[in-house]
Symmetry: none
DNA sequence: GCAAATTAATGATTTATTCAAG
DNA sequence: CTTGAATAAATCATTAATTTGC
């Protein structure tokens, strides 16, 4: 039983829609005024109280986080199975893949030679990240781009080695321009980092 | 000028198409691996770097939300012109505050006497939130609804006075049901707090 | 038609906020 | 409670659209 005699609030589809839209729009922990505002708004579409709105947002945020956490841990667990250029089949990418009926040729099937090309570019001094297992991008205080690169082999049994940090996009004011100018002729190397050994910090804490 | 001598990346139509498709497919905050993957893919269609991809998704997501928010606030404000509570001041809506130069008279500055008026209305059983400066809702440990109300004047020089707490929605197990049942016929009065003086705690730590 | 001028989009940075681990 | 990492919001800056006067 939905409305009559029910002991708990049951949002109408319209109410749910609006709540979700608000959530997506950035309202995750509405304050009292907002709750009242929203309640007032939604009461047009059915019975609702402030506490329902409050609880809805609380639960929605919590469950969103829960989902995210689970997804993340799953990713971390199964990461080692995803190699090189094959991670376009991540959950987010799944329906984007070559089998996407909407745009089947948007992502052409990888063909022989392409990966070799990538490998060549690595040898050539450009850095391909598709050979790293675990990569995290961050921006340091000085506006330099750093990339945390896990350079160890997949941990079969033993523990994962510590991360190394490679400077990826040095963007300090001083070398931004020259970097840019230098880039004009490697426009075809997609991951054009041009990491020279002296750019790599000697060691990291 | 698009590619040569340009100071910033200019996506080709194809690149843009693919980025948008990815976004629509659920990628809104790609991680480093995804960024590199995407960069690698898109580099087939023109010059591109990881940071371009990173920025593109950031901006696209932000501006999507911005649009949504604007639409929402327009909706809410339009539909609530005739109501008491016509504002929406969350962190997300920060730029809509009283001091917003864009709409200075939407949120009138608190004036002398207003707080007294507010106090009267509290006594009267109705509470208007648009006269409070700062309101925060919280739920105490015992599942009671509390509302933190800043009753002090705007901090001119001195420090903001401590918050006072008013019980807003008493939701203890004992009176939850009756509260709910009572609400069946005031479902259209959004701010139905009906605070009676004896509901207000005499004093708070 | 066509540039100079103006406005709108959007790439790139910086600043503030949130969240959770220690 | 403090702090670091991550993210979102706000802002700056440049490019593309467009308007306008000729």
């Amino acid at each position: 039983m939905s409305p009559a005699g029910s002991t708990r609030w049951c949002p109408t589809p319209h109410q749910l829609m609006m709540l979700e839209e608000m959530y997506r729009s950035g309202i995750s922990t509405p304050n009292a005024s907002q709750i009242q505002q929203i309640t007032s708004q939604l009461s047009f579409y059915g019975k609702i109280e402030g506490k329902n709105v409050f609880y809805w947002f609380q639960n929605h945020k919590a469950r969103d986080r829960q989902k995210l956490r689970k997804k993340l841990t799953r990713q971390l667990q199964h990461q080692h199975q995803h190699q090189l250029l094959h991670y376009f089949d991540s959950p987010a990418f799944r329906h984007l893949s070559c089998h996407n009926s909407a745009s089947p040729n948007l992502f052409p099937q990888p063909q022989a030679g392409i990966h070799n090309e990538a490998a060549k570019q690595v040898m050539n001094g450009t850095w391909k990240f598709d050979i790293t297992e675990r990569v995290d991008m961050m921006r340091t205080y000085g506006s330099d781009w750093l990339m945390m690169v896990d350079v160890g082999p997949p941990p079969l049994i033993s523990r994962r080695p510590p991360l190394k940090t490679l400077e990826l996009f040095p963007l300090t004011a001083s070398n931004l321009k020259e970097k840019f100018n230098d880039n004009t002729n490697n426009s075809l190397s997609p991951v054009s980092c041009n990491i020279s050994p002296d750019k790599v910090p000697p060691s990291l804490p």
